[in-house]
Amino acid sequence: MANYRDIIARYQDKPGGIIEAYHALQREFNYIPREAVKEVARVFRLSEAQAYGVATFYSYLSVEPRGNYIIRMCESAPCHIAGADEIIKAFERELGIKVGQTTPDGKFTLELTECVGQCQGTPVITINSVPHVGITPDQIPAILALCK
């Protein structure tokens, strides 16, 4: 596993590169660890309160630990009428967790998201940002089985 300092250092010469650095940290850790927020503040010459303010503003950034597979269910209006609620319930049943939670084994986190721009194929989920369109509740076990 890469060191958070090394990851952040790659972006230090990019003006305003803090969000890029946060994304890179999340690709490694699935979330932004506290020590990394502090390091980002130091490297980008922000206060820690500012760095924390940025990390908590964007819904795709998280300062809380998350699973290896982040499943997001789009619940914007087009997916809503296509049955997003049913899909969410099916995921909750299948994973044994509620939206916003992570499975005890640290494998899956279930989140809601707003539109992911795949509205030709509602309802849409993303797994680690990869979209899966036209989902039905009965496909869910097979989708989860693909996540090794």
Partner: protein
């Protein structure tokens, strides 16, 4: 039978989008060459004369926007690829199918305003586009077509408000994506306080053809006050959920029935929301309205991003508007009072109406609140958020009244 007219999507599915040579063979980068032989002023005039109006939703004349840029050592060209309006996937489609046309459009703008640095702000939901664009940029640089103009892709983090140009700029600067008050406008003091032109993907993607074929050609297409084409993305209860590019004088009815193939499962039409989730709801009686910016505004709706969200006769308007109210509550940045508190309270009242616990007084309260938000909020998000509530109260009031406590 109405037909598509493809300007920004002219190469879609005809070329290998990951190969710049295909684009060049199809006539790519000739417009940039032509523009570079022109005086920057003349390029701005040409775009102004074409009356190319911003395709992101605001509909401002692009050439006029560029003409406000004052002389400065450093200027930026920023492409808004923060396609956050639910139901919209046009910018993704354009970039996936023809990224070079976007880069060429940005380079034409850069020549016109005298910029050497461009940014593409790509929403955090599209990480796969970042790779695709970086590949396209690398090829364009290797081919030498961009000259001294550099383009860097920056990624958002899941915040609809960053589609607002000043919030987008804040985000590129690495801050919380909170909109700035205007003036100053970005054209004068934008990214890192330097003059900055922010345009939508589709706006840039129109430029190569405008330069190649001329302002008069473009201005003669579609509706006179909003000429050209518009890429629309169909979603909801329509047979064909596809992206299409049509002249701007195409009517909503043609879009839904001729391109969209009508309503799914043989059902009847109830409503269409155009322009994204902040757009107005449109009833059957207004379907013969052309989709251009001004015609849409005249019926109290918007063209917006060009999302076309169709609802059939089984759909519960109040439930959908409640869901939309949740969207705005979730996406408000929280900076200004009317939006931070207003979107939250709108959602609360809509939930109350939707679960059958509200009275006529709640409708009055949300109406008063909505009017204040529309005029007092700091940015377009808070101003537009009540649109779906207001237009459905106008056209589908009976659906609300049906759910009220007597």
């Amino acid at each position: 039978m109405a037909e598509e007219l493809r300007i920004v999507l002219r190469n879609a599915d005809k070329i290998d989008a990951s190969n710049i040579n295909d684009y060049i063979k199809a006539g790519g980068y000739t417009a940039l060459e032509k523009a570079r032989r022109m005086e920057p002023r003349a390029v701005i005039e040409e775009v102004k004369k074409a009356n190319l109006r911003g395709r992101g939703g605001a509909g401002f004349n692009a050439g006029l926007k560029w003409s406000f840029v004052p002389p400065a050592e450093t200027k930026y060209v920023v492409c808004n690829l923060d396609e956050g309006e639910p139901g919209t996937y046009k910018d993704r489609t354009i970039v996936q199918k023809d990224p070079q046309t976007l880069l060429e459009g940005m380079a034409i703008c850069a020549h016109a305003i005298g910029s050497r640095q461009g940014y593409i702000y790509c929403r955090g939901e599209y990480p796969y586009l970042v790779e695709h664009l970086n590949n396209a940029i690398a090829q364009a640089k290797a081919a030498g077509v961009l000259g001294d103009f550099d383009i860097e892709v920056r990624m958002g983090g899941g915040a609809y408000v960053c589609g607002e140009e000043t919030a987008l700029i804040e985000s590129i600067e690495g801050h919380r994506g909170e909109p700035r008050f205007k003036p100053p406008f970005p054209g004068v003091a934008g990214l890192w306080a330097q003059p900055t032109v922010v345009n939508n993907v589709e706006t840039f993607a129109n430029l190569p053809e405008i330069i190649n074929k001329g302002a008069d050609w473009f201005a003669s297409i579609g509706a006179a006050s909003y000429p050209g084409t518009k890429v629309l993305t169909l979603t909801g209860d329509v047979v064909n959920r596809i992206a299409i590019e049509v002249p701007t004088n195409t009517t909503i009815r043609q879009v839904i029935y001729e391109f969209g193939g009508g309503i799914r499962n043989g059902r009847k039409f109830k409503a269409v929301q155009i322009g994204g989730t902040s757009g107005g709801f449109i009833p059957e009686s207004l379907l013969d309205t052309p989709i251009d910016f001004d015609s849409m505004r005249n019926i109290g709706a918007t063209l917006g991003t060009g999302a076309v969200f169709v609802m059939d006769d089984t759909r519960d308007i109040v439930d959908i508007v409640t869901r939309i109210a949740k969207f705005f509550e979730h996406e408000s940045c929280g900076k200004c009072n009317p939006c931070r508190e207003g979107t939250f309270r709108c959602y609360e009242i809509m939930k109350k109406i939707n679960r059958g616990a509200a009275t006529a007084r709640d409708i009055d309260n949300i109406t008063v609140l909505a009017r204040v938000m529309q005029k007092a909020a700091l940015c377009g998000l808070g101003q537009a958020a009540p649109g779906p509530i207001m237009t459905t109260l106008q056209h589908f009031r009976h659906e609300y009244e049906r759910k009220l406590l007597s």
